[in-house]
Each structure stands twice: as C-alpha cells, then as structure tokens.
C-alpha cells in the first residue's frame, strides 16, 4: 500500500506529483518534500512559502517541519526569512543529532551556509494585500489577525515508511517572530511508521495546547481507525477547551495509518486532498456537524472554479 493525505485544496498539485512518485515505488520522504515544495513555490497560495502573507512589519516569516516515522528524526524551522523552500531546510536538519530546530536569523544563516536558495519571499500581490489590510484595520478598527492555513501532509510508501511535513507563513499580520503549531512536533505533526501519522491546521495557539497530532497517533496505536482517532482527539480537546477556557479556535486535522486508511476531523469548513493506491488524488470538503462526525464530499467542479477565481482575484 502507499498513500498521502494533506490539508487544504492548495495541496492538490503537490499531491499529484507525490502520487506519481509513490505509485512507481518512490520514497515517502522524496514524495512529501516535492509535494510541499509545489505548494511553497506557487505564488497564489497566500499562507505558505512564496506569496505567503507577511507579518505586522510587512516581512514574510515562514515555519516548516519534517518528521521521519521510522526513527522519529525531526527537523524544523520557524520565523525563517528569505529562504525559498523552508521544507527542504527542515528536512536537511532532520538528519542531524543536534541543532535540528532553528528559528529566526539562524535559519537563513544555516540555509546560506548549506547552499539553499535565498529569495525574497514577498510577492507584489502579498504586499498589496498587506497594505490593504493595514488600511482596513485602521479604518474599520478590525482585529489584525486573519488566516492561518498550514499545508500539512502524511505519506506512506510501498516500503512501509511514513513521514509527515508542514509548511506555513502563519497568521497574517502576526507579531514579528510569532510561531504557531506547524513547527512543533506533537502539535502540528507527528508520525510513527509502525502506527500512522497526523497533521493539523487552524489556530496554532490553541492547537499547541492539546498536542493534538501526537494524541491522534497514540489513539491509532491503541487500535482506533484514523477517522475515529481524529474525531475523538479533536472533539475531546475542543470540549475540554470550551469547558476550561470558554472557547476553542479553528481546528482541522488529517491522519493516515500504516494501512493507508485515512481520517479527518474539523470544527470549520475544511478542504483536504487524498491519494492512495486504491484512489487517485481527490479533493474533498469536510463540514463539521452537530454529531461530531464531519460530512465529507468530493469537491464539486463549481467549488473548484470558485476557489480558482478567489485565489487569483485582483487585489484592489
């Protein structure tokens, strides 16, 4: 069996590439890196990599992580500036014993020394969206924070190896140096090749309160299906947060086990992408329901067209 699952519609083009690699017996590590790079490189995805929305100072700061489910090796970067592909830096760091998680200026320094491509990650479009938002915040007295869609993936290859990876520009208009859950193992991602993996997207500040990805993998290890584990972990933690804190932010997770079975849970409308040996790359929509089970539908042509139009809409 092989398979890959990812958060959000934006993962689709990358998942198509990964599908080819995995179907021809390629490695999960290569497939997931290429898939994340496809999202990082595409300028119209405004919450990941090139074209990602900037922080409150107008500077693009990126977070990414990579985890190997065979040996638990992790590499992560956070608050990275001017690095073309944060995921590749994270993956390289995962090979080391020490210094596997770098933040701030340390990331670009390391990336430069190691020969990674350095690039100004701010696009004209992102710059315009920033200027527009600054104006709106001043004029309408809005909260500065908006949007936090991380691309997160879990992949399984024919050899039985599982990996997980994430990449994000984080919260639009975040404070300089703010990081969310995406680079945090156990919260933004976790994977164990003998069980399965999970990855999360949503309000990082709340996701890291529950170690949600670790918990999903643990529940799968206890015998739950990826769907049961995702729903149980998310619903339990949202209930706990509501009871103890009064509210819970947006939470969406995807999971896959070592059999290539998958699951999803969310408390907001959420798109995701799956490809396995049994199923070609498909974009799904999940809608939260009262009973705690998401309603899952294949994304319609109409939805996909509206998405395409929305992400490319000129910025006025």
């Amino acid at each position: 069996m092989w398979g890959i699952i990812a958060t959000w519609r934006m993962a689709y083009e990358g998942i198509k590439k990964a599908e080819e690699t995995l179907a021809s017996g390629g490695m999960a590590s290569d497939a997931i890196e290429a898939a994340i790079i496809a999202v990082e490189d595409y300028p119209y995805y405004k919450s990941v990599g090139y074209g990602g929305l900037p922080n409150e100072e107008g500077l693009v700061e990126l977070d990414a992580a990579y985890m190997d489910g065979d040996n638990f090796d992790i590499g992560a970067v956070a608050g990275a500036t001017n690095v073309k592909n944060p995921i590749s830096v994270a993956k390289k760091l995962s090979e080391d014993t020490f210094n596997i998680f770098l933040v701030g200026n340390g990331v670009a320094k390391y990336a430069q020394k190691e020969g990674f491509e350095i690039k100004n990650m701010l696009t004209k479009r992102a710059s315009k969206l920033y200027a527009k938002r600054v104006k709106e915040i001043h004029e309408k007295n809005l909260s500065p924070y908006d949007g936090h869609d991380t691309v997160g993936m879990v992949a399984l290859d024919e050899a039985g190896k599982m990996v997980s990876a994430t990449s994000t520009s984080g919260l639009f208009m975040k404070k300089t140096g703010r990081i969310g859950d995406s680079a945090i193992s156990g919260s933004g991602f976790y994977v164990d090749s003998e069980i399965g993996g999970a990855t999360a997207t949503g309000l990082g500040e709340d996701l890291m309160k529950g170690c949600i990805s670790y918990e999903i993998v643990r529940l799968m290890g206890d015998g739950m299906s990826p769907m049961e584990a995702s729903e149980h972990a998310v619903n339990t933690f949202i209930d706990k947060l509501k009871r103890r804190k009064g509210k819970a932010g947006a939470f969406s997770v995807v999971a896959m086990n070592k059999e290539g079975e998958w699951g999803v849970a969310t408390n907001v409308e959420f798109s995701f992408v799956v490809a396995t040996k049994n199923q070609e790359a498909t974009i799904y929509l999940a809608y939260p329901q009262e009973d705690g089970h998401a309603k899952i539908e294949v994304a319609s042509e109409e939805w996909l067209l509206a998405y395409e139009t929305r992400i490319k809409k000129p910025v006025e």
Copy 2:
C-alpha cells in the same frame, strides 16, 4: 495541599522562595515565576538566564515557557537575546489569544515595547568559558556540544491551580537560532490542573521526538502515580528510541499531581528539588538503575559542597 517540584540543584534558592509563597496561601503562578527568576538571575548557573553559556557565535540565546493548567494558556519565547527574564515575557504572552510564542528578534522587540528589562546576558565568566571551549574544540577536535540543563518546574497551590514553567540557555555552543524542547508544549512541559504536570530536561532534540511531558500527564490522568507515569513514559520512549534509532540522549523528568504527590525518572545522574505542605524544600539525587526505577537519595552535605565549589571554580 500545595507543592512545587523542579529539575536540578540550581532550582533550590528559587524553590525556597516559592515555598514561602505557597505555604502562606499564595498563587502557584506567582510562586513559579519568582522561583524561575531566582535561577535566571543567579550568574553562576551557566545553563539558564544571566550567566548562561552562549551559542557558537558567542551570543546568549534563551528559551522559556509558562503554562496555566486551569485553561491551558501557554506563553513561550525561544532564541531570545538581551531579555533579563525570559520567563516573565513568556508568562505575559500566555495572557494573549494570538502571538503567544515568539522567537528570535521578535522576543526583544516585544519585551522592549512591553517595558521588560533589557540586558546583555553574557557574563565575563560565560565569555571566558566560551573562549576556553572554542580553544579546546580546535586543539582536541572535540564535538562542540556540551551541557543542556533546563530548569523546569511544576507547582500546585492551595486553591488547586497548577502551572508549569521552564527556562534555559540551551545547548552550549549551539547553532544560532537552535531551540530545544524547553519552549515546546508537550515536550518540555505540560500541565492540567485536574490531573497534574510534568517537565523535562536533557537532549531537547530527542525529548521532542516523544512529547514526553504530555505523555506523563496523560498517564497520570489514566490513574498512574507521578512516579509510575514518569518511569513508564521515559522508559518506554527510551526503549523505542534505542530500537528505532539506535540510541537515546539524556532524559530526566519530574512530575507532580494535583494531590501534591511527585515522581521522577532519568537515564543519567540527576538532581531535583521538591517542597510540599508535608515536606520542606529538599534537594534529591536520582541515579538510574538497571530495573528502570531511579535510586533516590537526599543530597549529602558533601555533594552540596562539591557542587558549590564546582560552579564557582575560577575559569582558567
């Protein structure tokens, strides 16, 4: 009941202060912050705060975190430079909904704006130790990495509130921007006032592979004592790492539950400090044993004197 437990001998003076606060009905949040500040401010503790050992460039970069076990609010800083008390910045951040985890330059920027004290955290002694180490590395072809003692604490107050906090300068000679587990929820610390809390010290790169603090709290929630939960989580994960990766770094954890009972587990010689309503502040030593249970002894006068001499020994 009230209680507080902390990693390493260096916590003792802080724990004495916390003991007074907690014994007179004070809040765990105040007690733990004051206790961590005492460690951060003492110049001879070379792995936390002022006097902490610098990174490979000779710059002191600090990590700290604070967690509220009532509502899971978390605040964290990593790679912080020129901030006198990282723990106080982390605690302040925990009051916000967004931007609760800041890294790199973002920390000093925030601290400045919020009126926290800015200070060059490099002491003459730390600078000499750095110069000496650079020379040794060159002459003897040593590995640059050495020392990574985080002060981590879990506290319970008479009102039943539990909190956890950590502070560290991280790995001596680390790469610029390297962060470990101390600022990472679930790995370096976790606390739930309805169950208990745990905090870890050791090789952060390995600790974050297992979400060890979250797992200890979860096991206490399932009914284990702090000692059983600490031993089970640590031993299980060390075995898993050895099997899957071939080796495991240094791991030491302390835990306390809502009854004020405590536990410890370690795979290296490890000192820790406990004070509860039933027991005045005591420095213990834990020695790992073949059977997976640490041998625990009250630190002898001799050990304490040798410690005092060692930390103040002139740097040649």
